[in-house]
Subunit: 207 residues, 2 copies
DNA sequence: GAAAAACATGAATAGTGATTCATAATTCAT
DNA sequence: ATGAATTATGAATCACTATTCATGTTTTTC
């Protein structure tokens, strides 16, 4: 009966039923994150993943039904971790503009310490478009709501929450990429302050 | 601009020396844009590209030395076209903030009419990281300069031009993706106005 | 108008790597 | 302890596709 916890997908690689199996599955997932994050989806062979995990090639298929499946799982994991980290950071904040700042800081901090996961999400656009869109839609929807409520409450200027949500996500993403992909070394706190200043007050000079 | 015409790279597929060859090369490049843009780099086989172009498989290698090479060429082409379109749109503008608006509009318009090229640039991050970084660095540098000069001249509030350039590129990119990848149908002009309002005046409510 | 140069063909090659499977080892339940 | 379930192995399979090449066609050159 029970059978909760089962993602209800297809006949995917079955869940381990032993501590030993659980450990092996984790090892493979961790190795996949490392190897795919480093070499990209196509360069990362099942062989290189299992080698990194220290198991035989066939073992992979005990826990995952395909190369794509392990990838999707990583994308979903990234989404969960990120949402957790951000909501943790902005949880009790009353001031929307401050929440904006702290959310950005949490995002950039997380990304800096998980560059592999970051690359994986980017690549998901091509490897697993559904997972990619789900990832962004989930974020965008939460963001949109927050902005809409803040505008409603008069905490920020009114304006289309949808487009704003995408624009602000775009800033976060670009700055994450700036450091991860382009290797910029400006300290996160500085980047956050500069970007937050732009987000809050815009470019226009005031008299 | 000028340029010699010979990219000076390695022993790449040679340039055509005949009108006929020129036409074939163009056909292949166009087919590659269509097929790779639609199916992604890895799904797009040389066979599918040459079929689309209406030539034999071997013909591909008369003009390109590898699958990667045709890809790089497309990325470079996208960069050139985009820079041209944007500088065309913002060329004589005195007001920096207006230039910002028109640049964004030009970008979104271009992207909407060339969704394949857009996807290709995104994918370049994994297929040809050097081309990808070159593409963004070139944009970022131009943007940075524009912002720095505007700040210098007192046309906008002072602030780190580098981070701002990346943030603003991020907005453009996210909004482009919003329409191309996520199929949003909000008219470009509306999106531009909302985003420009945010860029210029920020989120903060003023008394 | 003939040899040369350029272009085109598509079947063959050749390397790759995801997935399967027969077999073996380990762990669990009783 | 012992049969059943679970987990692990890694060599073999199998499909796929980038690239090459020997040959044929078209265009240019003189």
């Amino acid at each position: 009966m029970a059978e909760t916890g089962t993602p209800a997908k297809d006949q995917t690689g079955r869940e381990p039923k032993t501590a030993r199996g659980e450990a092996t599955r984790r090892a493979i997932l961790g190795a996949a994150e490392k190897v795919i994050g480093r070499q990209g989806f196509n360069e990362a062979s099942i062989g290189s993943i299992t080698r990194e995990a220290g198991v035989a090639q066939g073992t992979f298929y005990i826990y995952f039904s395909s190369k794509d499946e392990v990838f999707s799982e990583l994308v979903a994991e990234m989404g969960r971790m990120l949402r957790h980290v951000i909501s943790e950071a902005t949880g009790g904040m009353a001031d929307r503009l401050e929440a904006e700042r702290e959310g950005l800081r949490a995002f950039l901090t997380f990304v800096a310490s998980h560059p592999e996961l970051y690359r994986i999400v980017q690549e998901a656009q091509f490897v697993d478009p559904d997972a990619y869109r789900a990832y962004f839609r989930t974020f965008a929807e939460g963001y949109r709501q927050g902005l809409a409520e803040a505008a409603e409450a008069g905490a920020i200027r009114p304006g289309d929450a949808d487009v704003r949500a995408w624009a602000l996500m775009g800033i976060a993403r670009a700055l994450g990429e700036y450091s991860v992909v382009f290797g910029d070394t400006t300290p996160i706190d500085e980047v956050v302050d500069i970007a937050h200043d732009l987000i809050v007050d815009g470019l226009r000079k005031r008299s």
